[in-house]
């Protein structure tokens, strides 16, 4: 029960384009893993394969001792337990802030509405968005949208939360508020996999940092090793571009 999800030899190709070339990752409960790497290296694809937004070409994903890729496995149930926070927020435009956090609980989790609203409110408070429950997404700033998106994912009470560059689409002054929410979540022991370009943040918040390039995990280690004395030459080269981390 200490492993949330175990990914083995994951491959993904789009047509001729081989994007993931055999990636392994074991995610322990309560662990925060950051994935860094240049654009196009396959980070998003990897994350999207983990919760099956993309169907992996081959490999295995073990969740609760079962390979979710075997035919007949209930993917929707698995997805509900692998939360995802997108770069572009993707809040449901037709629903209010509260409804965004309720709809999944009611329709997927089969909770009653009153119960679901309570849970939603708890997490909206956690991200500081409770006062906005009646607002529609188009009323909100980018930072507020992303905080609601985090609350929506949390409302499903997932086993792990996947973040795909959660601050990359934000104006600089809003990056801080979102990173703070994620840092607070790390304190609560939530399992998280975070794709990010915020190196200082990754260093501070992560238990392990993975450097990804050309569809492979080049190096994975505790942040001190990755950022201060990386063993791999490519990791060194990549990080040399981020001075002062």
């Amino acid at each position: 029960m200490n492993i949330v999800v175990e990914i083995k030899n994951l491959h993904k190709t789009f047509g001729q384009n081989v994007v993931l070339k055999g990636v392994d990752l074991t995610v322990n409960r309560g662990e925060v893993i950051s994935i860094i790497g240049s654009s196009g290296s396959g980070k998003s694809t990897f994350l999207r394969c983990i919760n099956m937004l993309e169907w992996p070409t081959s490999g295995e994903i073990f969740y609760n001792g079962e390979n979710v890729l075997k035919s007949g496995y209930d993917i929707t149930k698995y997805r509900a337990k692998m939360g995802m926070v997108f770069q572009s927020f993707n809040l449901f435009q037709n629903l209010t802030v509260l409804e965004n956090c309720v709809v999944g609980q009611v329709k997927v989790g089969k909770k009653n509405k009153v119960e679901a609203e309570k849970v939603a409110l708890k997490y909206l408070e956690k991200v500081g968005m409770a006062p906005y429950i009646n607002a529609k997404p188009h009323h909100l700033s980018g930072g507020q949208k992303q905080r609601v998106a985090i609350a929506r994912a949390l409302s499903m009470e997932p086993d792990a939360l996947l973040f795909d560059e959660p601050t990359s689409a934000l104006d600089p002054e809003m990056v801080g508020e979102v990173l703070k929410v994620i840092k607070d979540l790390a304190q609560t022991g939530l399992t998280m996999i975070i794709v990010t370009h915020e190196m200082a943040f990754a260093k501070e918040v992560s238990d392990r940092v993975a450097y990804m390039a050309d569809g492979v995990m080049v190096e994975m280690d505790v942040p001190e090793v990755i950022f201060e004395s990386p063993k791999n030459e490519r990791t060194k080269q990549f990080l040399s571009r981020f001075i002062g981390v």
Partner: protein
């Protein structure tokens, strides 16, 4: 003494006003029912045409082949009804079905049928476009919290689609009000047909049709205004309440106020 144009109009309204009202009623009935039924057709067809088949469904699975077949049939339907004039369809369908099945069906029912399938053909393309124009991120976010394709459609994509296609639907309604005039060829007693009858009864041509034109214009103007109002209402308020310390959201929830 010769009647002036004005005298004729007054004469027509006084003596044949009921005919015009009856005609306008039938026009409105057929246009409205046809638009509603047609839009429902269009919505269903649009939904069917956008059913995704993930690539782990086998190439020769019955599901894939069945869906392909249905899609081909729907495409034929859409092309045929968009590619031929409604006046021709009306004659072929009304007299064709009457002869084939030996039935004597009510021209108004036939009229509603014809307007519905025409609207359906047109709206299905509008709906398809409307579904495809909903940001892909919306679908992904719904899948990411565990929704199935149908839950995603029902709770996320279609509400946004319906808002997107509302202007086109209203437009189609206005077009249908005008286009029902062609149904006079199958003796539907709509506004144009009734006007023709008035014209024949009093041996006048443009005067009754001018009255008819005013009625058409009145209908379309009023309907356009109503639809614009509905669209605005659907967009919801442009502002929202921020809950402060005196109005904490928990209290609102506890009081059981309808929020969702």
């Amino acid at each position: 003494m010769e009647k002036t144009f004005y005298d004729w109009v007054v004469y027509i309204i006084e003596n044949y006003g009921v005919w015009f009202l009856k005609g306008a009623g039938v026009t409105l009935l057929i246009a409205l029912t046809g638009t509603i039924i047609g839009s429902i057709f269009g919505l269903l067809i649009g939904i069917i045409k956008t059913i995704p088949l993930s690539n782990h469904v086998g190439r020769f699975s019955p599901k894939r082949i069945g869906l392909k077949l249905v899609n081909i049939l729907l495409t034929i339907y859409i092309e045929v009804f968009r590619g031929t004039p409604m006046i021709v369809q009306a004659i072929v369908i009304y007299y064709g079905i009457a002869e084939a099945w030996g039935i004597n069906w009510d021209p108004i029912v036939a009229g509603i049928f014809i307007v519905s399938i025409n609207t359906g053909a047109y709206m299905s393309e509008v709906v398809r476009g409307g579904i495809q124009s909903v940001d892909k991120g919306q679908t992904e976010a719904a899948h990411a919290i565990g929704m199935t394709h149908w839950q995603t459609m029902l709770h996320v994509v279609l509400p946004q689609t319906i808002r997107n296609i509302l202007p086109a639907t209203g437009n189609e309604f206005v077009i249908n009000i005008k286009d029902t005039a062609v149904l006079n060829v199958i003796t539907v007693t709509e506004l144009f047909f009734m006007t023709k009858s008035v014209s024949g009864a009093i041996y006048k041509t443009y005067e009754p049709f001018l009255v008819a034109a005013s009625i058409y214009l009145f209908l379309t103007l009023v309907i356009t205004r109503i639809l614009r109002y509905v669209e605005k209402r659907m967009d919801g308020p442009s502002s929202y309440t921020i809950f402060g310390s005196s109005t904490m959201p928990e209290q609102i929830l506890k009081r059981g106020e309808q929020i969702v």
